[in-house]
């Protein structure tokens, strides 16, 4: 069994937690360990609960997992909410100057580790509040047996622009945290790590979309900020000049996509990225690119919908929208990259397909894939990627006769001349047109001309599908159960299968990357041989299962669905698969943990965050017609019982808040 260790950091937005997470991750990735992290954040700039997990392992890991060995709590809230998740043998590290860690919150075999930050750093000058994190990191280095020098090196790089004095101060703080821990605590990690020494890059999907685009020769990027696509814009804005790229922030997504198409039409490799709401505004233009046969790459990074939805949370709920984008039938490609490295290659491939087949390529990602950072193999990203521009007409001698921009060819691909090529002038019209570009929509709409030009355009899809690698079944063919996923869930499904296997349940896995065109024949052939089919999707209505049925006639037996904003973790999928195999119906009741989370929500919205949930018990609903969770709320500071909250087990309705004492003054 490979060694692994997961550290959680909980705090408020503005506590600088993501920086600390990065420092921690880089300090080990530079020494050759694998890291996969996930930041569960909120749509506020200050305050709001932030929960970051950093999973460190000697072997490649495919998700942030579902274990927790060490919790760094930066506020009371984090202790309360996450201390119960720490595994036996683990610990909770917290700033004891600021709050306490109630031992009743800890599971068996979990120890509280107080850090009196003021005392530890009293000789180190004036501390910024955020430096408490560095003290904690120092302690973590000791507890998890990490490499002190490596972390000091990351701090040195981080503060390089602030000068040696700042670097020295930070390293001293780190040392103080380390020394304090060494004197009083024992390491949680049993053995030393096997550091391979290979420096692994630590990157997010969005960074690799951007890097992939640049490597593929993208010269134009337009965008309007929208979480979780904005970090592509930020990356492009800070690297654009160095990489010779025009980066334009526009007034809205209408402008974004039309500008990219304008650039694509003129002959530049152009890309834009957005999330569901922005993509909705782009749809008309995407059909335009299909109609006028202009290459463009559009990345849709899904977040929880509908409407503004849950901006900082993940979902795979836009499949229907991306598939259904724009009126009419037109050729286009939809690719759902399956992991971080794949974000790079899918982008490279998208530009080639877009230009070779002169069509829009839509990449569908999601917050999890786009924003979670992980280590990637250093040689997994080659720079000299293939650049295939398709059939281009560079000159058109006079004797050639008229140049036909939309020439009807057997492949459907009409050699493309870029505007500015003498002798090839043409009009690209969004109205239906003939081979030469003359519109057929006004004076007389010639039915056969329309039919043939439509067939020509759609013919291109036959060429596209021949280029795409068909999906393969992973795992034993005769396994009793098949998990089917698409896009970002590839890694977590793989790890769920490992959990199942550890419990003696064999399974296999079919993962779809190319949504459209779809390998219907290959998929049908594979699934026909499989036994119980379970779809795994991060949305409410199993959008992909419906699409699969439309394409193959195959219906999954059941779907494992998640739409609460948080990504799947391996155990959730494994447990649900077991439930399905046992023939148990799905249970959508409010669980005890749910009731506790709902109580936190109530405390925030009604009780000024002054209380916290304590005892929770199930009770008869009497007049409510359903059972209730009775959640006792206690004062955060004194622990004094404040009253009881009644939550419907079926509906999740908060029926009553019954205070015991008079309202606080």
């Amino acid at each position: 069994m490979a060694r692994e260790f997961t550290i959680g950091i909980g705090g408020a937005a503005g506590d600088g937690l993501d920086k600390s997470g990065d420092t921690l991750a880089k300090s080990v990735s530079r020494r050759g360990l694998h890291v996969c992290a996930y930041n569960s954040y909120q749509s506020v700039i200050r305050g709001g609960h932030i929960w970051l997990r950093v999973r460190i392992s000697e072997q490649k890991v495919y998700s942030h997992g579902d274990r927790l060995h060490l919790l760094i709590a930066l506020n009371q809230d984090s202790v309360e909410r996450h201390a119960p998740e720490v595994e036996p043998g683990g610990a909770v590290l917290y700033n004891s100057d600021r709050f306490s860690c109630d031992a009743s919150l800890l599971g068996d075999g979990v120890v509280p580790l107080p850090l009196p930050v003021k005392e530890i750093t009293k000789d180190l000058g004036r501390l910024l509040p955020i430096m408490q994190n560095t003290v904690a990191l120092g302690a973590v280095v000791f507890l998890a047996r990490l490499d002190f020098d490596s972390m000091a090196g990351v701090l040195a790089d981080t503060f390089k622009h602030k000068g040696q004095a700042v670097i020295d101060q930070n390293v001293k703080i780190l040392q103080a945290g380390f020394d304090y821990a060494k004197e009083r605590f024992v390491p949680l990690a049993k053995e030393a790590w096997n550091f391979s020494g290979m420096r692994r890059p630590f990157a997010t999907g969005n960074e690799l979309f951007a890097l992939g685009a640049v490597a593929a020769g993208c010269k134009f990027y337009s965008a309007y900020p929208m979480t979780p696509a904005s970090s592509v814009l930020h990356w492009m804005a800070s690297h654009g000049e160095r990489c010779g790229l025009v980066v334009k922030q526009c007034e809205d997504e209408l402008a974004v996509v039309n500008m990219a198409i304008g650039a694509g039409q003129a002959g530049v490799r152009a890309m834009c990225a957005t999330s569901g709401g922005g993509f909705a505004l782009m749809t008309e233009a995407i059909g335009m690119a299909g109609m006028i046969e202009t290459p463009v790459v559009v990345v849709e990074v899904q977040r929880g919908g509908p409407s503004t939805g849950i901006p900082t949370k993940t979902e795979q709920g836009d499949l229907n929208q991306v598939y259904g984008a724009s009126q009419g039938d037109f050729p286009r490609v939809i690719i759902a990259p399956t992991d971080t490295t794949d974000c790079y290659w899918a982008t490279v491939e998208s530009f080639n397909l877009a230009e070779k087949y002169q069509l829009p390529v839509l990449i569908i990602s999601d917050l999890l894939l786009s924003e979670h950072p992980e280590t990637i193999e250093p040689d997994a990203l080659r720079h000299d990627v293939p650049i295939e521009r398709g059939e281009l007409v560079n000159e058109w001698p006079e004797g050639n006769g008229p140049y036909k921009r939309y020439a009807c060819t057997p492949s459907g691909v009409s050699p493309r001349a870029l505007p500015g090529t003498a002798g090839t002038e043409y009009v690209s019209a969004t109205d239906e047109h003939d081979e030469e570009g003359f519109t057929i929509s006004d004076v007389f709409t010639s039915p056969p001309v329309r039919r043939k030009i439509m067939e020509k355009r759609m013919k291109k899809m036959e060429g596209v599908i021949r280029e795409l690698a068909p999906p393969k079944l992973e795992g034993p063919e005769d396994a009793p159960v098949t998990l089917i996923g698409w896009g970002s869930t590839c890694g977590v499904i793989r790890e769920a299968r490992a959990l199942l296997a550890a419990q003696g349940i064999q399974s296999n896995h079919l993962h779809i990357k190319y949504i459209h065109p779809f390998h219907a024949e290959d998929v049908t052939a594979i699934l026909k041989k499989c036994k119980i089919l379970i779809g795994v999707e991060v949305n409410y209505s199993a959008q992909f299962a419906r699409y699969l049925r439309a394409e193959t006639g195959i219906t999954v037996h059941e779907s494992i669905l998640k739409y609460d904003g948080e990504p799947f973790e391996p155990r959730i999928i494994a447990e649900e698969a077991k439930r399905i195999l046992a023939g148990r119906p799905i249970n959508l009741d409010v669980t005890k943990e749910d009731a506790r989370e709902m109580a936190y929500h109530y405390v925030r919205t009604h009780l000024a965050d002054a209380d916290r949930p304590a005892e929770i018990e199930l009770a008869d609903g009497n007049s409510h017609g359903e059972s209730l969770w009775r959640v006792q709320l206690v004062d955060r500071a004194s622990g004094e019982v404040r009253g009881e909250l009644k939550i419907g087990v079926k509906t999740g309705s908060i029926y009553a808040w019954e205070p015991l004492t008079a309202a606080r003054t």
Binding site: K219, V246, K248, E251, L254, M259, G264, A266, T430, V443
Partner: protein
Amino acid sequence: MATTAMPPAAPKKVNRVGLEPADYKGNRSTLCAGCGHNAISERIIEACYELGVEPYRVAKLSGIGCSSKSPAYFLRSSHGFNAVHGRMPSVATGTVLANRAIMALGVSGDGDSASIGIGQFVHLMRRNLPCVYIIEDNGCYGLTKGQFSATADLGSKLKTGVVNDLPPIDTCALAIQLGATYVARSFSGDKKQLLALLEGALVHRGTAMLDVISPCVTFNDHEGSTKSYSYVKDHDEPLSDVSFVPYFEDITVEYEPGTSTEIALPDGSRLVLKKLRTDYDPHSKVEALRLLTESHDKGEIVTGLFYIDTERPNFLDLLNVVDEPLATLPESRVRPPQSALNEVMDSLR
């Protein structure tokens, strides 16, 4: 075989790049006979011929509408891009950024620019993107059968008797305020003025916005409409008498001193404004905006060059785009240097 003796052909009239007027024509117009948009197409043909514009260097960009169809009716051998409704400005921006060697000639309608596309319109003006931006302004949506657009005047009447009760958007005032650097209004029926303003616009190096009142004979040319031929003729108040003198023609225009202003354009051509209104300074934004507001209150339709600024950097200058068109960079230069990519990878570790 019998041959018939042909009279020797008269020498063809050609311009400085050796092209005939016919080379600047387009397909036969499918717009209504008498539509103002047709007259504008003719002026564009004349202007490009006279200036000796090379058609293959021009990209005609438009949205959707009768006006947006008109690029099919001029410059047959130029590239065209009919985008979707209201999106010409962003398509034009993308095109110009991708290939700075292209002369962008945008043609839009008042519905295309001032209604559905106003967001795009204002942002293009802010950019001062090098392009000519023509609004063929008929105060209505011709292609969808004559409903009011956002430039319809207060009190103007539809054929059906419906009266417009909202104030118009003055696209010239907006353009001036937002940063366009060549802003004029003209009338499709005023051949001389429109031609000169178009020629000036074609050599300008920033956004040249021309709002050309262009009556819709089918839906908005009746009694009670403020965009009809007769109404516009009666209320047209030219600001000056405009002449354009191209750099390659050695012409001196004689005017009595003090009655005219000469404006040097970037390529050495000149615009000569013989003032009908004394004291009007086309370099002043404040004056331009006052003029537009006052004349509007008086119910006059002032035409002419309202504002020009040949100094303000255009969008390409500001973005530091390389001189070579991005669209035609060789493959070796399309990729960033290996060193840049290595730097990026290092920053991730």
